[in-house]
């Protein structure tokens, strides 16, 4: 399974997106607001997901802004962090 598919699977499971399947999540769609419709409490779950599933920790607000833009950007962020490790 590639990183984006893995990420989508965990998004559905860990954020309890019961009315969505991983395949329905678009790579470029915004995660918050329009798009996937996540809210601020989901941001907490997203940070926990990154740490638990990928051993990656968001450093600050700027990183969150960059990484949480879409599945594309989140996957790129994880890949970049893994490469640095």
């Amino acid at each position: 399974m590639d990183l984006k598919s893995e990420l989508k699977k965990y998004l559905v499971e860990d954020l309890h997106l019961e009315d969505l399947s991983p395949e329905e999540i678009e790579d470029a769609a915004p995660l918050f607001g329009e798009g996937l419709g996540l809210d601020s409490l989901d941001a907490v779950e997203l940070v926990v997901l990154l740490q638990k599933r990928f051993s990656v920790l968001i450093k600050d607000m700027e990183e969150a802004r960059e990484a949480f833009g879409s599945v594309d950007r989140l996957a790129a962020f994880i890949a970049e962090r893994r490469a640095q490790a």
Binding site: L38, S40, V44, V47, M61, R65
Partner: protein, 308 residues
Amino acid sequence: MSSQWSSRSLGSRFQHQIFYRLISLFGPGPAYWLLHPVVFYYSLRPDVFGRSRPYLSRRFPGDRRLAAWRRAFRLNLEFGRVLLDRAVLGLTGTFSLEDPHNGAARLRQLSAEGRGLIILTAHAGAWQSGFGWLEGLGRPVNIVQKRQDLDVDRHFFEHRPGGPAPKIIDTARPSEALAAMSAALLAGELVCVMGDRAGPAEAFTLTVPFLGGEIRLPAAPYYLAARLSAPLAVVLTRRLGPGRVAGELRRVIRPRPASGRDLESLRPYAQDFVQVLNEFIEEEPYQFFNFYDMWLNKEKKNGPEERA
């Protein structure tokens, strides 16, 4: 009467500079003296008088006009002193932070649990100078706040040349703010949150009784504590005199670990926090600084509220 909270200062940048210059050139004494006529002038303005009425009329019901004005003056003066203390701390480093109940040692213990530590405080006492207390705990400090573009007032660490500064987490973008708060806690850092104000962008709030009415408090601190098993320390600071502040760890709250988003289960913890506020304003009625109407109208009383 102003019902909207604003972080904007009453005075202009120029007026603030006068105080800063006085402190730099002559020490704090003249600045504290100048504060009296300045506060007197501002307290005569109906808009300024009105800002403290929502709180003071509940704390001291039945006051006549003159008594009400005197209380407003006293509250405004105390607030001015707190702001000056902060500037004095930043500009001269002159400051005495007392720890009568050995709260810092307990905070270090809580922090050493390795789950991060949420410091829940309020716009009461010398809270801004109290941030300096947190720097001595040996962990990175994050301060959660909403700042407005035209806010000319400065924190003590912004007066200070060089030196480590706490990280500011701006609540203007709630999702990013909560992500940053979560990340800081997971990294074992301190996250300091003002628990007595739910900002306009606050999506999740808890409605609790306070001084005969109901107020909205941010749910995020309790949610984070429950979700990440982080201890939550209620810390208030009490101004004792010029440049003298007591830091007080008033309560440690440990919300039960949770995996869902059952906000209703968090309400008792918010009520614990309000109980601490009640105790504080009983002891120090002129050190509670919420200059806006924080109480809900009857039609808005439903909670917990969600405005995602």
